[in-house]
């Protein structure tokens, strides 16, 4: 008899040193590859090349940051979460409530939101990090749903389903107002996302990051060699929570509104889809997945307001069949085969 519901075998690509993920995350390699520089240059270029799409672009950047935080725990530490929106929403409401009560400086709101996200993550880590994959999936889901209900019940404070409006978000650095075209919003979101990305990149290529990957693949062996597994997982979960909180704050500040669905199940579920579509374990996967998913959603729903979900679903099904390891995984695997280093 099996002792418990056996955890599904980790994706085969993760283990061998020749795998795309290992290829992309080699420990010693902290240099920026040309492709990475091109990616960020293109992101910056959007500011000048597509001035009419900056609002969408800023929301893509924010979602990319959110996906990055999920990639840390899912792609690198192997923790499946369907309730990541709890930290995102916590950060959004923190920034929103500060702005609502007159504290209109954006950067300090961002930091407060990161702290809130970290706190929520740390507090729930004791429940969320236990058990196998399926258990964690359901516990995080349940916690996320409970937070949603909590915010709904606290309607006098959070605005409930109607949402939190009347947010006065002041000038960024006292100079840049959040304008109608989304220029400040995009620059702000992109810079924050890039900064956090650099931090994450440093973290995952450190011994700490390597130990996380070990924990993801072989938790029992890791604890056998003396790694404090629980502590590491709690640490990365808290870090991911802080980043998710920052993403939430960015959304609240750039839209001057916090709706209840920042804590909703579909936000967590969509995020998971975006990350898996983009490819877990590469850091770029979340960004790529967010971009592809949101652009596809935008274009498809513009073309056909009612039935676009069908094409989106089809995109996902095709991605699973033809792009295993997600978009980024497929690209990196192609490079590997091409012999490029």
């Amino acid at each position: 008899m099996r002792a418990q519901v056996s955890e599904p075998p980790p994706a085969a690509t993760a283990r061998t040193s020749g795998s795309p993920i290992a290829f992309a995350n080699r420990l010693s390699d902290l240099r920026w590859r040309p492709a990475e520089l091109a990616f960020w240059a293109a992101a910056a270029a959007v500011f000048f090349v597509l001035p009419g799409q900056l609002v969408l672009a800023s929301q893509i950047a924010i979602t990319g940051l959110f996906a990055l935080s999920l990639d840390l725990i899912l792609g690198y530490a192997g923790v499946v979460s369907l309730g990541h929106a709890a930290m995102f929403g916590g950060g959004a409401y923190t920034a929103g409530l500060l702005a609502n009560h007159g504290w209109d400086e954006p950067i300090s709101g961002l930091i407060a939101a990161a702290a809130a996200g970290a706190l929520i993550a740390f507090g729930t880590s004791f429940l969320a990090l236990r058990g196998g994959d399926l258990t964690r999936l359901m516990v995080t889901l349940g916690l996320g749903l409970m937070m949603y209900e909590l915010a709904n019940q606290a309607a006098p404070v959070t605005g409930g389903v109607d949402g939190l409006s009347d947010m006065t978000v002041g000038k960024l650095f006292g100079v840049f107002t959040f304008d109608l075209g989304g220029r400040t919003a995009y620059a702000y979101s992109l810079v924050v996302t890039f900064g956090v990305f650099c931090l994450c990149r440093r973290v995952v290529r450190s011994p700490f990051g390597l130990s996380l990957r070990g924990i993801r693949d072989q938790p029992v062996r890791m604890s056998a060699i003396g790694t404090p597994v629980r502590r590491r997982l709690t640490a990365v979960y808290t870090l991911a929570g802080a980043i998710a909180g920052m993403a939430g704050a960015l959304l609240a500040q750039t839209t001057q509104f916090v709706g209840l669905e920042v804590l909703g199940f579909s936000r967590s579920a969509d995020l998971l889809i975006m990350l898996v579509l983009g490819g877990t374990g590469f850091l770029y996967g979340g960004l790529a997945g967010a971009a592809v998913f949101m652009v596809a959603q935008h274009l498809l729903s513009g073309m056909n307001p009612v039935y676009w979900q069908f094409w989106l679903g089809l995109l996902l099904v095709l991605a699973v069949f033809f792009a295993p390891g997600g978009i980024t995984g497929a690209i990196v695997a192609r490079w590997q085969k091409g012999g490029r280093r």
């Binding site: 008899m1 099996r2 002792a3 418990q4 519901v5 056996s6 599904p8 075998p9 980790p10 994706a11 085969a12 899912l74 499946v80 429940l127 236990r130 058990g131 196998g132 994959d133 399926l134 258990t135 999936l137 359901m138 516990v139 889901l141 349940g142 916690l143 749903l145 409970m146 209900e149 019940q153 199940f265 579920a269 998971l272 889809i273 898996v276 579509l277 877990t280 009612v306 039935y307 676009w308 979900q309 069908f310 989106l312 679903g313 089809l314 995109l315 996902l316 099904v317 991605a319 699973v320 069949f321 295993p324």
Partner: protein, 288 residues
């Protein structure tokens, strides 16, 4: 209001029976092949639409639509298993999640395209309406019917699992697929047949649930959480586990709403979290 406790229990058991019927297929397929099929609700929805449209457009009586829903769900399961699911057995859980969610979105949109976004209510035959008045207790006739049907199916399933060779093969494949294959059991065929059975049961559950839960194209997404809840809390791979879990969840949900309505949704989610932490392998551990 202690006198209303039997009524609450009755409602809870009826609700739980419905959840069980829809989730049992998911439990066995998840336990057997570790395949996370989030599109399971789409099969339930298919059964619901077969029932509703069969009655509306073809004039088929309600009771006759039930086996029809089962067969349609099973057929759909057979086709999809062969074409789409089979290539994905070896893939990791995340790919399966992505695939099944994509399939669900397609099902929701396609259903909206063909049948419109509105609700599909079903007119039950008059002998299933109303209440049975016992001393001190009013029992809904339809809920009695539900409990009876699900009880019958459960007995049949247990008989299948415990009393037939096929059932033995299912149990062997759930416990250890590799060894079973080594013993000559065609695990893939067993799984395919189980998937078909599970889809058929989901469809039947969908048809039966229209009156209680409503039916519209977003059904698979709305109730996905409940199916997963029952399967994970109960423990994938068994019948007893989800049965216990759905009864517990059904009763507590109804009781919570009745006695502590202010707590609202907290009861069921809090209970789920608590049960998962106490019984990480699922409630089926209690049976061992």
């Amino acid at each position: 209001m202690p006198g209303s406790l039997p009524g609450v229990l009755f409602d809870g058991v009826a609700y739980g029976s419905l959840l069980f019927l829809m989730s049992v297929g998911l439990s066995v397929t998840m336990g057997m092949m570790n395949f996370i099929n989030l599109a399971h609700g789409a099969f339930a929805m298919a059964g619901g639409y077969v029932c509703a449209l069969g009655m509306e457009r073809l004039g088929i009586p309600f009771l006759a639509t039930l086996p029809l829903s089962f067969l349609c769900g099973a057929a759909l399961g057979a086709v999809l298993e062969r074409t789409l699911y089979r290539p994905l057995y070896r893939r990791g859980p995340l790919d399966q999640v992505l695939f099944s969610l994509g399939l669900t979105l397609m099902a929701v949109a396609a259903t909206t395209w063909f049948f419109g976004p509105g609700q599909r209510p079903v007119r039950l035959p008059s002998f299933l309406l109303g209440q049975l008045h016992l001393p001190g207790l009013d029992l809904g006739v339809y809920r009695l019917f539900l409990i009876a049907v699900v009880a019958a199916i459960t007995v049949a399933l247990v008989a299948l699992l415990r009393g037939t060779r096929f059932g033995a093969r299912i149990r062997a494949s759930v416990d250890d697929a590799r060894t079973s294959a080594g013993l000559g059991i065609d695990v893939h065929r067993v799984f395919a047949l189980t998937f078909i059975l599970g889809s058929g049961l989901a469809a039947l559950g969908g048809a039966l649930s229209i009156d209680v839960l409503g039916l519209d194209p977003t059904f698979p997404l709305k109730y996905l959480v409940y199916f997963l809840l029952v399967v994970v809390v109960g423990g994938a791979g068994t019948i007893a586990g989800p049965l216990a879990a759905s009864m517990v969840l059904g009763v507590f949900d109804v009781a919570g709403k009745y006695y502590v309505p202010e707590a609202g949704a907290f009861v069921i989610y809090g209970l789920m979290v608590a049960l998962l932490l106490l019984f990480p392998g699922g409630l089926r551990r209690l049976a061992r």
